[in-house]
Protein backbone atom coordinates (compact mmCIF):
# COMPACT_ATOMS: atom_id res chain seq x y z
CA UNK A 1 0.00 0.00 0.00
CA UNK A 2 2.77 2.41 0.98
CA UNK A 3 4.55 1.65 -2.30
CA UNK A 4 2.14 3.81 -4.24
CA UNK A 5 3.06 6.96 -2.36
CA UNK A 6 6.78 6.41 -2.19
CA UNK A 7 8.13 7.74 -5.37
CA UNK A 8 7.16 11.38 -5.18
CA UNK A 9 8.44 13.40 -2.25
CA UNK A 10 5.88 16.11 -2.58
CA UNK A 11 2.76 14.12 -1.86
CA UNK A 12 1.19 12.85 1.32
CA UNK A 13 0.11 9.28 1.84
CA UNK A 14 -3.52 8.62 2.82
CA UNK A 15 -2.39 8.28 6.43
CA UNK A 16 -0.85 11.73 6.23
CA UNK A 17 2.80 10.65 6.08
CA UNK A 18 5.65 11.76 3.87
CA UNK A 19 7.36 8.52 3.02
CA UNK A 20 10.43 9.97 1.37
CA UNK A 21 11.21 11.97 4.49
CA UNK A 22 10.79 8.89 6.64
CA UNK A 23 13.02 6.87 4.34
CA UNK A 24 15.63 9.59 4.60
CA UNK A 25 15.55 9.25 8.37
CA UNK A 26 15.90 5.51 7.98
CA UNK A 27 19.06 6.07 5.94
CA UNK A 28 20.47 8.17 8.75
CA UNK A 29 19.81 5.52 11.36
CA UNK A 30 22.37 3.35 9.55
CA UNK A 31 25.03 6.04 9.53
CA UNK A 32 27.87 6.65 11.98
CA UNK A 33 26.81 7.87 15.40
CA UNK A 34 27.26 11.48 16.47
CA UNK A 35 26.91 12.51 20.10
CA UNK A 36 26.64 16.03 21.48
CA UNK A 37 26.74 16.98 25.15
CA UNK A 38 26.23 20.46 26.60
CA UNK A 39 28.09 21.56 29.72
CA UNK A 40 28.39 24.82 31.65
CA UNK A 41 31.64 25.72 29.94
CA UNK A 42 31.19 24.29 26.50
CA UNK A 43 29.92 21.55 24.23
CA UNK A 44 31.49 18.24 23.25
CA UNK A 45 30.81 16.63 19.87
CA UNK A 46 32.02 13.14 19.12
CA UNK A 47 31.44 11.03 16.04
CA UNK A 48 32.16 7.55 14.78
CA UNK A 49 33.73 7.27 11.37
CA UNK A 50 32.27 4.51 9.29
CA UNK A 51 34.77 4.49 6.47
CA UNK A 52 37.93 3.08 8.02
CA UNK A 53 40.74 1.41 6.17
CA UNK A 54 44.50 1.32 6.47
CA UNK A 55 44.70 3.01 3.12
CA UNK A 56 42.59 6.01 4.11
CA UNK A 57 44.50 9.23 4.70
CA UNK A 58 42.44 10.35 7.66
CA UNK A 59 44.50 13.21 8.96
CA UNK A 60 43.36 15.33 6.04
CA UNK A 61 39.72 16.36 5.87
CA UNK A 62 36.78 15.44 8.04
CA UNK A 63 34.03 13.03 7.42
CA UNK A 64 31.75 13.88 10.29
CA UNK A 65 32.59 17.14 12.03
CA UNK A 66 32.75 20.51 10.30
CA UNK A 67 33.14 24.14 11.31
CA UNK A 68 30.23 26.20 10.07
CA UNK A 69 31.41 29.53 11.40
CA UNK A 70 33.67 30.93 14.13
CA UNK A 71 30.97 30.18 16.65
CA UNK A 72 29.28 27.02 15.34
CA UNK A 73 30.58 23.51 14.77
CA UNK A 74 28.40 20.69 13.45
CA UNK A 75 28.42 16.91 13.44
CA UNK A 76 26.84 15.16 10.48
CA UNK A 77 25.05 11.82 10.22
CA UNK A 78 23.82 10.42 6.95
CA UNK A 79 24.81 10.77 3.33
CA UNK A 80 28.15 12.58 3.34
CA UNK A 81 27.68 13.96 -0.15
CA UNK A 82 24.33 15.51 0.81
CA UNK A 83 25.89 16.88 3.95
CA UNK A 84 28.62 18.66 1.99
CA UNK A 85 26.04 20.68 0.09
CA UNK A 86 24.26 21.73 3.26
CA UNK A 87 27.47 22.59 5.06
CA UNK A 88 28.59 24.75 2.17
CA UNK A 89 25.23 26.52 2.16
CA UNK A 90 25.24 27.14 5.90
CA UNK A 91 28.77 28.56 5.69
CA UNK A 92 27.57 30.99 3.04
CA UNK A 93 24.54 31.90 5.15
CA UNK A 94 26.78 32.58 8.13
CA UNK A 95 29.15 34.77 6.15
CA UNK A 96 26.34 36.73 4.51
CA UNK A 97 24.97 37.50 7.94
CA UNK A 98 28.41 38.62 9.09
CA UNK A 99 28.73 40.89 6.09
CA UNK A 100 25.31 42.40 6.61
CA UNK A 101 25.41 42.94 10.37
CA UNK A 102 29.12 42.78 11.26
CA UNK A 103 28.21 40.31 13.97
CA UNK A 104 28.30 36.49 14.12
CA UNK A 105 25.01 34.82 13.32
CA UNK A 106 23.08 33.64 16.38
CA UNK A 107 23.16 29.83 16.43
CA UNK A 108 19.42 29.31 16.25
CA UNK A 109 19.10 31.51 13.20
CA UNK A 110 21.72 29.51 11.33
CA UNK A 111 20.01 26.25 12.22
CA UNK A 112 16.62 27.66 11.27
CA UNK A 113 17.79 28.86 7.84
CA UNK A 114 19.36 25.48 7.17
CA UNK A 115 16.17 23.71 8.20
CA UNK A 116 14.06 26.00 6.03
CA UNK A 117 16.22 24.90 3.14
CA UNK A 118 15.72 21.23 4.01
CA UNK A 119 11.97 21.72 4.33
CA UNK A 120 11.83 23.12 0.82
CA UNK A 121 12.94 19.77 -0.52
CA UNK A 122 10.01 18.06 1.17
CA UNK A 123 7.38 20.30 -0.31
CA UNK A 124 8.21 21.44 -3.83
CA UNK A 125 10.60 20.89 -6.69
CA UNK A 126 10.10 17.14 -6.92
CA UNK A 127 13.62 16.51 -5.58
CA UNK A 128 14.37 14.01 -2.84
CA UNK A 129 15.07 15.27 0.69
CA UNK A 130 18.61 15.54 2.07
CA UNK A 131 19.54 12.35 3.86
CA UNK A 132 21.35 14.22 6.63
CA UNK A 133 20.81 15.03 10.27
CA UNK A 134 22.93 17.61 12.05
CA UNK A 135 24.01 18.20 15.60
CA UNK A 136 24.97 21.88 15.66
CA UNK A 137 26.96 23.06 18.67
CA UNK A 138 27.46 26.77 19.00
CA UNK A 139 27.79 29.83 21.17
CA UNK A 140 26.30 33.30 20.89
CA UNK A 141 26.13 36.25 23.25
CA UNK A 142 22.36 36.06 23.62
CA UNK A 143 21.89 32.46 24.75
CA UNK A 144 25.36 31.15 25.48
CA UNK A 145 26.10 27.53 24.57
CA UNK A 146 23.43 25.76 22.57
CA UNK A 147 23.10 22.34 20.97
CA UNK A 148 20.59 21.83 18.15
CA UNK A 149 19.51 18.70 16.38
CA UNK A 150 17.95 18.92 12.91
CA UNK A 151 16.48 16.20 10.71
CA UNK A 152 15.67 15.80 6.98
CA UNK A 153 12.13 17.05 7.52
CA UNK A 154 13.47 20.44 8.52
CA UNK A 155 12.53 20.14 12.18
CA UNK A 156 15.00 21.33 14.77
CA UNK A 157 15.12 21.37 18.54
CA UNK A 158 17.50 22.41 21.26
CA UNK A 159 19.05 19.77 23.51
CA UNK A 160 21.27 19.38 26.55
CA UNK A 161 22.51 16.07 25.19
CA UNK A 162 21.60 14.37 21.94
CA UNK A 163 22.59 11.59 19.62
CA UNK A 164 21.96 10.86 15.94
CA UNK A 165 22.89 7.98 13.65
CA UNK A 166 23.28 4.32 14.46
CA UNK A 167 22.15 3.16 17.92
CA UNK A 168 20.90 6.63 18.69
CA UNK A 169 17.99 5.44 20.84
CA UNK A 170 20.38 3.36 22.91
CA UNK A 171 22.68 6.31 23.37
CA UNK A 172 19.79 8.66 24.11
CA UNK A 173 18.59 6.48 26.99
CA UNK A 174 22.08 6.29 28.48
CA UNK A 175 22.38 10.07 28.18
CA UNK A 176 19.05 10.52 29.88
CA UNK A 177 20.19 8.43 32.81
CA UNK A 178 23.66 9.80 33.24
CA UNK A 179 23.27 13.50 32.39
CA UNK A 180 23.51 15.79 35.42
CA UNK A 181 20.63 18.17 35.10
CA UNK A 182 20.24 21.45 36.95
CA UNK A 183 17.96 21.10 39.97
CA UNK A 184 17.08 24.75 40.39
CA UNK A 185 14.79 26.91 38.26
CA UNK A 186 15.68 30.26 36.75
CA UNK A 187 18.56 31.30 34.46
CA UNK A 188 16.65 31.32 31.23
CA UNK A 189 19.42 32.55 28.99
CA UNK A 190 22.15 30.04 29.76
CA UNK A 191 21.87 26.26 29.88
CA UNK A 192 20.67 25.08 33.25
CA UNK A 193 23.20 22.34 33.76
CA UNK A 194 25.65 21.22 36.36
CA UNK A 195 27.84 19.32 33.94
CA UNK A 196 31.42 20.52 33.57
CA UNK A 197 33.50 19.97 30.44
CA UNK A 198 35.23 17.13 32.23
CA UNK A 199 31.88 15.49 33.01
CA UNK A 200 30.81 15.95 29.43
CA UNK A 201 33.97 14.38 28.00
CA UNK A 202 33.65 11.49 30.41
CA UNK A 203 30.02 10.90 29.55
CA UNK A 204 30.86 11.11 25.86
CA UNK A 205 33.45 8.36 26.20
CA UNK A 206 31.02 6.23 28.18
CA UNK A 207 28.27 6.56 25.59
CA UNK A 208 30.66 6.00 22.69
CA UNK A 209 31.96 2.81 24.21
CA UNK A 210 28.44 1.49 24.66
CA UNK A 211 27.08 2.35 21.27
CA UNK A 212 29.98 1.69 18.94
CA UNK A 213 30.30 -1.87 17.74
CA UNK A 214 34.07 -2.31 17.66
CA UNK A 215 35.90 -4.01 20.48
CA UNK A 216 38.24 -1.15 21.23
CA UNK A 217 37.82 2.59 20.84
CA UNK A 218 40.68 4.07 18.89
CA UNK A 219 41.32 7.52 17.46
CA UNK A 220 41.14 6.00 13.97
CA UNK A 221 37.44 5.43 14.33
CA UNK A 222 36.58 8.73 16.00
CA UNK A 223 36.28 12.43 15.37
CA UNK A 224 36.13 14.78 18.33
CA UNK A 225 35.47 18.48 18.72
CA UNK A 226 34.74 20.93 21.49
CA UNK A 227 33.51 24.49 21.58
CA UNK A 228 34.41 26.58 24.61
CA UNK A 229 35.02 30.22 25.49
CA UNK A 230 38.49 31.74 25.40
CA UNK A 231 38.79 35.43 26.31
CA UNK A 232 35.02 35.66 26.07
CA UNK A 233 35.10 34.52 22.47
CA UNK A 234 33.95 31.14 21.16
CA UNK A 235 36.81 28.76 20.46
CA UNK A 236 36.34 25.63 18.36
CA UNK A 237 38.83 22.84 18.77
CA UNK A 238 38.76 19.89 16.39
CA UNK A 239 40.94 17.21 17.95
CA UNK A 240 43.87 15.56 16.21
CA UNK A 241 44.25 11.76 16.46
CA UNK A 242 46.86 12.17 19.20
CA UNK A 243 44.55 14.38 21.21
CA UNK A 244 41.72 11.90 20.81
CA UNK A 245 44.04 9.15 22.09
CA UNK A 246 44.81 11.32 25.11
CA UNK A 247 41.12 11.74 25.89
CA UNK A 248 40.48 8.03 25.52
CA UNK A 249 43.39 7.20 27.86
CA UNK A 250 42.24 9.78 30.38
CA UNK A 251 38.78 8.29 30.65
CA UNK A 252 39.90 4.72 30.18
CA UNK A 253 38.24 3.71 33.45
CA UNK A 254 34.88 4.65 32.04
CA UNK A 255 35.45 2.82 28.78
CA UNK A 256 37.03 -0.42 30.01
CA UNK A 257 34.25 -1.84 32.22
CA UNK A 258 31.67 -1.62 29.45
CA UNK A 259 33.74 -3.92 27.21
CA UNK A 260 33.16 -6.73 29.63
CA UNK A 261 29.41 -6.62 29.10
Amino acid sequence: MARRYDSRTTIFSPEGRLYQVEYAMEAISHAGTVIGILSKDGIVLAAERQATSNLLEQSIGSEKIYEMNDNVVAGVAGLTADANILINQSRIIAQRYLQKYDSPIPVEQLVRRLCDMKQGYTQFGGLRPFGVSFLCAGWDSAFGFQLYQSDPAGNYSSWKAACIGENFSNAQSILKQEYKDDDSEGSSSTAGTQMTMDDALKLTCLVLSKTIDTAKLTSEKLEFATITLKNNKPHIHIYTSDEIDQVLTKYDSVIKPSNND
Binding site: K100, Y101, D102, S103, P106, E108, Q109, A142
Partner: protein, 197 residues
Protein backbone atom coordinates in the same frame (compact mmCIF):
# COMPACT_ATOMS: atom_id res chain seq x y z
CA UNK B 1 19.90 73.50 6.48
CA UNK B 2 19.02 70.58 8.75
CA UNK B 3 20.85 70.45 12.04
CA UNK B 4 21.63 67.02 13.48
CA UNK B 5 24.14 66.32 16.18
CA UNK B 6 24.70 63.80 18.94
CA UNK B 7 27.04 63.10 21.80
CA UNK B 8 27.69 59.82 23.62
CA UNK B 9 28.61 59.17 27.22
CA UNK B 10 29.53 55.72 28.49
CA UNK B 11 25.98 54.42 28.84
CA UNK B 12 23.82 57.02 27.11
CA UNK B 13 23.60 59.02 23.90
CA UNK B 14 22.02 62.46 23.50
CA UNK B 15 20.58 63.09 20.05
CA UNK B 16 19.62 66.61 18.99
CA UNK B 17 17.84 67.54 15.77
CA UNK B 18 16.14 70.75 14.69
CA UNK B 19 12.41 70.74 14.05
CA UNK B 20 12.15 72.80 10.90
CA UNK B 21 10.93 71.28 7.64
CA UNK B 22 11.64 73.77 4.86
CA UNK B 23 12.19 74.06 1.12
CA UNK B 24 13.98 77.08 -0.34
CA UNK B 25 12.63 80.15 1.47
CA UNK B 26 9.48 78.53 2.79
CA UNK B 27 9.18 76.65 6.08
CA UNK B 28 6.40 74.13 5.88
CA UNK B 29 6.44 72.80 9.43
CA UNK B 30 8.18 74.07 12.56
CA UNK B 31 7.67 71.06 14.84
CA UNK B 32 8.87 68.26 12.59
CA UNK B 33 10.49 65.21 14.21
CA UNK B 34 13.58 64.09 12.28
CA UNK B 35 14.20 61.03 14.44
CA UNK B 36 13.09 57.47 13.77
CA UNK B 37 12.81 54.90 16.50
CA UNK B 38 14.28 51.64 15.23
CA UNK B 39 13.94 49.62 18.42
CA UNK B 40 13.50 50.26 22.12
CA UNK B 41 17.19 51.15 22.43
CA UNK B 42 18.20 52.39 19.00
CA UNK B 43 17.35 55.76 17.47
CA UNK B 44 18.18 57.15 14.07
CA UNK B 45 18.08 60.78 13.02
CA UNK B 46 18.21 61.62 9.33
CA UNK B 47 18.66 64.59 7.03
CA UNK B 48 19.03 65.11 3.28
CA UNK B 49 16.46 64.79 0.53
CA UNK B 50 12.96 64.83 2.02
CA UNK B 51 11.34 61.99 0.11
CA UNK B 52 14.41 59.76 0.37
CA UNK B 53 14.60 60.27 4.13
CA UNK B 54 11.07 59.08 4.76
CA UNK B 55 11.29 56.20 2.29
CA UNK B 56 14.65 54.91 3.45
CA UNK B 57 14.00 55.37 7.16
CA UNK B 58 10.66 53.62 7.03
CA UNK B 59 12.24 50.79 5.05
CA UNK B 60 14.92 50.42 7.72
CA UNK B 61 12.38 50.64 10.52
CA UNK B 62 10.33 47.89 8.92
CA UNK B 63 13.29 45.61 8.43
CA UNK B 64 14.64 46.11 11.94
CA UNK B 65 11.19 45.38 13.34
CA UNK B 66 10.87 42.28 11.13
CA UNK B 67 14.16 40.97 12.50
CA UNK B 68 12.92 41.45 16.07
CA UNK B 69 9.68 39.66 15.41
CA UNK B 70 11.30 36.81 13.46
CA UNK B 71 14.10 36.13 15.90
CA UNK B 72 12.61 37.15 19.26
CA UNK B 73 15.58 39.40 19.90
CA UNK B 74 16.52 42.91 18.85
CA UNK B 75 19.43 43.83 16.63
CA UNK B 76 22.16 45.53 18.63
CA UNK B 77 23.00 49.14 17.70
CA UNK B 78 26.19 48.09 15.91
CA UNK B 79 24.36 45.42 13.91
CA UNK B 80 21.66 47.95 13.05
CA UNK B 81 24.18 50.54 11.90
CA UNK B 82 26.00 47.99 9.76
CA UNK B 83 22.74 46.86 8.23
CA UNK B 84 21.80 50.43 7.39
CA UNK B 85 25.20 51.11 5.87
CA UNK B 86 24.94 47.98 3.77
CA UNK B 87 21.54 49.01 2.40
CA UNK B 88 22.77 52.49 1.63
CA UNK B 89 25.88 51.12 -0.07
CA UNK B 90 23.75 48.86 -2.29
CA UNK B 91 21.60 51.80 -3.33
CA UNK B 92 24.66 53.87 -4.10
CA UNK B 93 25.41 52.10 -7.34
CA UNK B 94 21.82 51.93 -8.48
CA UNK B 95 20.10 54.24 -10.93
CA UNK B 96 18.74 56.54 -8.25
CA UNK B 97 20.67 56.39 -4.97
CA UNK B 98 19.17 57.45 -1.67
CA UNK B 99 20.44 60.83 -0.56
CA UNK B 100 20.29 60.49 3.23
CA UNK B 101 22.72 61.36 6.01
CA UNK B 102 22.10 59.92 9.41
CA UNK B 103 23.21 59.43 12.96
CA UNK B 104 22.46 56.05 14.53
CA UNK B 105 22.51 56.12 18.31
CA UNK B 106 21.90 53.25 20.67
CA UNK B 107 22.66 51.40 23.84
CA UNK B 108 23.46 47.70 23.72
CA UNK B 109 20.96 45.82 25.88
CA UNK B 110 23.43 43.14 26.92
CA UNK B 111 26.53 45.18 27.72
CA UNK B 112 24.92 48.55 28.56
CA UNK B 113 27.49 50.33 26.40
CA UNK B 114 26.47 53.24 24.24
CA UNK B 115 27.38 53.67 20.59
CA UNK B 116 26.99 56.41 18.02
CA UNK B 117 27.51 55.93 14.30
CA UNK B 118 27.71 58.67 11.71
CA UNK B 119 26.66 57.47 8.26
CA UNK B 120 26.70 59.83 5.30
CA UNK B 121 24.95 59.66 1.95
CA UNK B 122 27.93 57.83 0.38
CA UNK B 123 27.51 55.02 2.92
CA UNK B 124 30.67 55.91 4.81
CA UNK B 125 30.27 54.90 8.42
CA UNK B 126 32.31 55.68 11.52
CA UNK B 127 31.76 54.88 15.17
CA UNK B 128 32.34 58.14 17.02
CA UNK B 129 31.89 59.74 20.45
CA UNK B 130 30.13 62.75 18.94
CA UNK B 131 28.97 63.73 15.47
CA UNK B 132 26.99 66.20 13.41
CA UNK B 133 25.43 66.60 9.96
CA UNK B 134 24.58 69.74 8.04
CA UNK B 135 25.83 73.32 8.30
CA UNK B 136 25.56 73.16 12.06
CA UNK B 137 28.55 70.82 12.02
CA UNK B 138 30.84 73.75 11.26
CA UNK B 139 29.88 75.32 14.55
CA UNK B 140 29.05 72.40 16.75
CA UNK B 141 32.24 70.39 16.18
CA UNK B 142 34.33 73.27 17.54
CA UNK B 143 32.36 73.20 20.78
CA UNK B 144 32.34 69.42 21.11
CA UNK B 145 36.04 69.06 20.26
CA UNK B 146 36.78 71.53 23.01
CA UNK B 147 34.41 70.28 25.68
CA UNK B 148 34.22 66.52 25.19
CA UNK B 149 35.90 64.10 27.57
CA UNK B 150 35.46 60.37 27.86
CA UNK B 151 32.78 59.03 30.21
CA UNK B 152 30.86 62.26 30.67
CA UNK B 153 27.73 62.18 32.79
CA UNK B 154 24.29 63.04 31.48
CA UNK B 155 24.41 66.50 33.10
CA UNK B 156 27.78 67.22 31.52
CA UNK B 157 26.36 66.02 28.21
CA UNK B 158 23.43 68.39 28.51
CA UNK B 159 25.79 71.25 29.32
CA UNK B 160 27.69 70.59 26.10
CA UNK B 161 24.43 70.42 24.14
CA UNK B 162 23.40 73.77 25.63
CA UNK B 163 26.66 75.32 24.52
CA UNK B 164 26.10 73.95 21.03
CA UNK B 165 22.60 75.42 20.88
CA UNK B 166 23.95 78.73 22.11
CA UNK B 167 26.64 78.93 19.45
CA UNK B 168 24.09 78.10 16.76
CA UNK B 169 21.80 80.84 17.96
CA UNK B 170 24.71 83.31 18.09
CA UNK B 171 26.51 82.57 14.87
CA UNK B 172 24.40 80.55 12.45
CA UNK B 173 22.46 82.72 10.03
CA UNK B 174 19.36 80.51 10.19
CA UNK B 175 17.21 80.72 13.28
CA UNK B 176 15.81 77.34 14.31
CA UNK B 177 12.22 77.20 15.62
CA UNK B 178 13.03 74.39 18.01
CA UNK B 179 14.97 71.20 18.70
CA UNK B 180 14.09 67.57 19.42
CA UNK B 181 16.32 66.30 22.19
CA UNK B 182 16.25 62.58 22.90
CA UNK B 183 18.35 60.54 25.27
CA UNK B 184 18.93 56.82 24.69
CA UNK B 185 19.95 54.96 27.82
CA UNK B 186 19.58 51.49 29.29
CA UNK B 187 15.99 52.34 30.19
CA UNK B 188 15.06 53.24 26.63
CA UNK B 189 14.47 56.45 24.71
CA UNK B 190 13.31 59.57 26.51
CA UNK B 191 12.55 62.98 25.10
CA UNK B 192 13.55 66.26 26.75
CA UNK B 193 12.55 69.81 25.86
CA UNK B 194 15.16 72.57 25.45
CA UNK B 195 13.98 73.97 28.77
CA UNK B 196 14.52 70.70 30.65
CA UNK B 197 18.20 70.47 29.91
Amino acid sequence: MDALFAIAGRDFVISVSDTSNARSIVRMKKNYDKTYKLSSHTLMSACGESGDIANFSEYIQGNVRLYSVRNSQDLSPSETANFIRNELASSLRSRNPYNVNMLVAGVDRNTGESSLYRIDYLAAMSKVPFAAHGYCAHFVYSVMDHEYKEDITLEQGFAIVKKCLTVLKERFIVDFPGFTIKVISSSGIREYSTNDI
